[in-house]
């Protein structure tokens, strides 16, 4: 009867849950605000969002590469 195993397992689970329960949480509204602020601040320098001018595009020529 592995009673001791079950107890050891249950102890570990409780220990883990204690750690996870003990953290500080911030409001979702604050988390969302911070995220939106970050995206707003960095959006202007996001090439995929604002587009890459042809002159600065390292992939501008459409070239298939084949080694077969």
């Amino acid at each position: 009867m592995s009673g001791n195993n079950s107890i050891a397992h249950a102890r570990k689970l409780v220990e883990q849950l204690r750690i996870e329960a003990g953290i500080e949480r911030i409001k979702v509204s604050k988390a969302a605000a911070d995220l939106m602020q970050y995206c707003e601040l960095h959006g202007r320098s996001d090439p995929l969002l604002v587009g890459v001018p042809t002159s600065e595009n390292p992939f501008k020529d459409k070239k298939p590469c084949s080694i077969l």
């Binding site: 107890i7 249950a10 689970l13 750690i19 409001k27 995220l35 939106m36 995929l48 070239k63 590469c65």
Partner: protein, 338 residues
């Protein structure tokens, strides 16, 4: 018998405590909070390069920090290193085991790591004339699904044996193991300061870990299927996961919960991979149905599609300068879009 009952009761109490604490800070949704934000532009990136060279399904790709080299791994048993600007092959690394699931570069790009169904993570030095196998990290009891270098001498792995591992490449030994998932570990992402990392697994959970002491700090629930992909938002406070449940989800670590779910009107295809643009605003997700959807990460709206592959999109990647997005497919091709 008494102690077991007491412990079970305490576990239930703690679970309820966590749920209550999460609800208490759940004062809005990301979608509601972002309703005032201007919609992201409807972008239509063009396929600028099609890289042909693999002869079987591509399973993984990874960009070097120079934003030019990219490595891909295929079940044809090869890793191919591409000079994506010139559109040519730069190197070819034959693998001992063809069953590759993950590839990555070290920060210098002098080393590549690959892992897969051989249960090992193999480190190859590609900075010399010929590729030279440097280490075979042997210790997992299951497949290696993901590997990420912390430095030239340290690497993190995620395994089908339900653990993640931190390895010292100088000794070839595991320095730390991360035990808490109850399903195959499929993906990991490192925090910028490398003190923590996040993992996604087949137990439908994502977890935050302390790298030094191996402790799981937080567990994130919400998905109802295997989590195949995970990536930090650039602000470092949130992350996005992609799953077989056909959704992507954003979790905020300080709010300790899911804050957004990205789901198609007809959710029929699992998510295999994901990448975030430089600001984090654009989310590129590869699906089983051969497409790569582009999502507005803040508003949760689909704003575009990259279509061009003739089979499942298995991997995606965006280089550190954010200049393009690459996709790899079971159709054996890689494409580069911007």
């Amino acid at each position: 018998m008494g102690e077991l009952d007491v412990l079970k009761k305490e576990a239930e109490t703690l679970k309820t405590q966590i749920e209550t604490a999460r609800k208490a800070v759940n004062d809005t949704t990301m979608e509601a909070a972002s309703s005032g934000v201007a919609p992201a532009p409807r972008i239509q990136p063009k396929a600028r390069r099609t890289l042909k060279g693999h002869t079987a399904k591509i399973y993984a790709l990874y960009w070097a920090l120079d934003n030019k080299l990219m490595v891909s791994g295929s079940q044809d048993g090869k890793l191919l290193v591409w000079d994506t600007h010139a559109g040519i092959l730069a190197n070819c690394v034959p693998l001992k085991s063809a069953w590759v699931m993950t590839v990555s570069f070290s920060p210098s790009a002098g080393l590549v790591a690959s892992g897969g169904l051989d249960n090992m993570c193999t480190i190859v030095n590609i900075s010399g004339e010929k590729p030279k196998t440097m280490r075979e990290l042997d210790g997992h009891d299951g497949y290696v699904a993901c590997s990420r270098f912390l430095s030239e001498t340290s690497i993190l792995t995620a395994s089908g044996d339900q653990t993640c591992g931190l390895w010292d490449l100088e000794t070839g030994k595991q320095k730390q193991s991360f035990l808490n998932h109850v399903g195959d570990c499929m993906c990991v992402a490192l925090a910028e300061d490398q003190n923590t990392f996040i993992s996604g697994a087949c137990d439908s959970q994502a977890k935050l870990w302390d790298i030094r002491d191996g402790q799981c700090k937080q567990s994130f629930i919400g998905h109802t299927g295997d989590i195949n992909a995970i990536s930090y938002m650039p602000n470092g406070q949130a992350f996005i996961t992609g799953s077989d449940d056909c959704t992507l989800r954003m979790f905020d670590m300080r709010a300790d919960q899911e804050v957004m779910c990205y789901q198609n009107a007809q959710p029929t295809a699992g998510v295999t991979s994901l990448s975030l643009s430089l600001s984090g605003r654009l989310l590129f997700a590869g699906y089983d149905d051969f497409n790569c959807n582009i999502w507005d990460s803040l508003k949760g709206e689909k704003i575009g599609v990259l279509s061009g592959h003739d089979n499942r999109v298995s991997c995606t990647g965006i280089p550190s300068d954010g200049m393009c997005v690459s996709t790899g497919s079971w159709d054996s091709f890689l494409k580069i879009w911007n």
